[in-house]
Subunit: 301 residues, 3 copies
């Protein structure tokens, strides 16, 4: 692929930069309380798709300005619920229901790089769902007010939150959050297991996420991370099926450049230096799962 | 449906009342340590089925008298294990195995209203399983002694507890409870995540559950709660399938009376007032899952 | 089956004893930091298979010498990744990928007796995966350094850890462990829910595990434990399917010797004394799940 210049993609709602293999995305709608609109999601989708394919990118951090009114206060529904769908979807009628928040969740979930949400402010609605749940790690400000407000707005949990949240935390905590619509703090027992790290001030959240990403980028294998994410997301239906999948992967990686470097560094008692990229690596069995196409297709059938 | 008078249904083992859209069920067998018998389960099954269909009911709370010897000390097995099956089931022979505790668990799980167990005393056996696990929320007295005693009684975990408990808490904690049969307190790390709230005295449990229910009844949508519960119970097999389901639901709710009220209240900066009922609401795709029939049918095949 | 003498099976890498229905396995490779090699896994596989079938055995404890450098510091990869496969597998070429760690995980998982890992030292790699995750209970020394190092070694999580860890702890904690390769303590919020008990000194771990096992052996039913484990591992696809399975089991156990003893002891207000064994017990519906064969078969097809 042609290597994109992330800061020159013409984004309006987000600021994007690539440095030391880490893409940082800053939601740039402070004067709208960082509410989500169609263009924001469109731009985010584009960046996550690019990061997935760009070998230079090892980690993606999503954050906001730490002095914005919120990390993301959800969709701006002052004009009605139509904000949840793209104009194309809306024009196709009621059968075309894919909400853009859900498409973003899927795009982040499918990104094979390390993904981190650096939640340095309050979060509600899509700010809790698509902008946090599909990420590998979540860093958060201890003072953030966090809300899944759906049942208090007459709608249901969106952006695949009913799939992701119970898997992340278990059903007891997920029910306490999704069925109440309550506002909680990161230290609440209902939600604390969602976060990799809770920071005392807003200013500390992004630097902590960056330092964490830098350490992982320096010391982990891009290929190994992609397979590990694939295994966590698609472990097989049984312990036996998982054994057939993970052993096949390890057998392949054992003779790959990064696998060889891992063993050599061990023998030589030094830190490994991994250089293999996803586009260099090919495997006849990746992906090992069936990827359901979620695109809507207009049809007369 | 004809609107039932809950306090005049001729129940013997439970006391039932409906007030402010909340049904409160009190187990009324204090002199038998609130043990479970066939009639208790039969009466509870009937109430949960009615509450599911009665639009007036927004929440169901199950509790006991706070000065009873126990919230529920399990099945009264002094006459043998036959207490676990209905007389009709027993008469059909060994192939007819559906235990009544399991049927109650399924009835509570399928109830589309907010369900709360207010555990204001000790609980064992079915008092831990059918009377707690299928509920959306559990409130408990900090001093309660809690036991899943099955492996210490020569039988296996019953009433779908082997399905529900690992989903609620994860397998590590579920094994620590179900494979030991140990007696634990609500503050034990093995079980604390099961509870929405732990109260210091027995007297406080029901009022806390009621206040919680009243707030939810006042500020959430009946239809949205039913869909949210459906999504948590039947999220689809993959993130993509969940996206297809939840987006379809949101698209429908966006043009429903409660969805409209949610958006209008937001615009007008006021608290929403939801009035739609489940029987007014109809949808061509609800339920979106296949509901397995669990009734036993005598057959000569 | 012929009753094995566990201490006379010619094991070289492990010490095995049977006392009071409890098999204790001690990893006997202190001078190699208790690293795993082919023979260790082969011997462990054999013992877990025997324990599964030997009626005398009620519980199996895996531990190390408390003054060894580690409980298990993983595979000894100083000779390369080939250590992960048996010589037979290696000779069959790249299609033969079943790693021995994975086969051990499956053997422990399938053992129908109570299984306990007594982790009285540091643990890494297979020492975290096959030697801990498939067990029913884990006891650990508070000072243990615990690591899933895979992504820092250029390979993916092995020995079915991507299947077991998220089920045990939820996906949020599992990602924090498997995608970082960080070294954590048992009291870390990322991992503490993995452990049934955390002990302050290395010396206390095995005695605590033994006392726990002795109490369970004395007071639980061998048959009930096997069914409870089966239900936790194979609960059915839905709440309804679980109801059909668990009720069928309870109906059977209610008329079994251990089930009868459970009820009789209750009536007579005494502690039950269970004597039924797995080989005495037979059931037309056990196992109720499809057991995938994981053996590799060389074929010209």
């Amino acid at each position: 692929m042609a290597l994109p210049d992330y800061s020159a993609l013409g984004h309006k709602e987000i600021l994007v930069s690539l440095e030391n293999h880490i893409v940082v995305i800053v939601i740039n709608r402070a004067k709208y309380r960082n509410t989500y609109n169609q263009r924001t999601v469109h731009e985010l989708n584009e960046v996550f798709d690019l990061c997935d394919r760009d070998d230079r990118v090892r980690a993606v951090i999503l954050t906001a300005e730490h002095d914005a009114p919120a990390f993301c206060s959800g969709a701006d529904i002052s004009g009605g619920w139509d904000i949840l769908w793209s104009p194309e979807t809306l024009s196709e009628g009621d059968q075309a229901h894919r909400d853009t928040g859900g498409t973003l969740s899927v795009a982040v979930y499918r990104c094979r790089k390390i993904t981190i949400a650096a939640v340095n402010g309050h979060a509600a609605g899509v700010g809790m769902t698509a902008l946090q749940l599909p990420f590998d790690f979540r860093f958060v400000w201890a003072g953030a007010k966090l809300t899944f407000p759906f049942v208090r707005r007459g709608i249901a949990p969106e952006a695949v939150s009913s799939y992701l949240l119970p898997r992340l935390l278990g059903h007891s905590r997920a029910s306490s959050l999704l069925l109440t619509g309550a506002t909680v703090s990161p230290n609440s027992p209902y939600i604390e297991a969602l976060y990799h790290k809770i920071l005392p001030t807003r200013e500390e959240v992004l630097p902590a996420a960056k330092a964490f990403a830098e350490e992982l980028v320096a010391n982990t294998s891009q290929v190994a991370i992609a397979y590990a994410k694939g295994l966590l997301q698609h472990p097989g239906e049984s312990i036996e099926e998982n054994h057939l999948i993970d052993s096949r992967i390890i057998r392949t990686l054992a003779s790959s450049p990064d696998g060889a470097e891992g063993v050599n560094a061990f023998k030589e008692r030094r830190i490994p230096k991994f250089t293999e990229t996803l586009s260099q690596h090919s495997s006849p069995f990746y992906p090992w799962w069936w990827r359901l196409d979620i695109k809507h297709r207009r049809t007369k059938l």
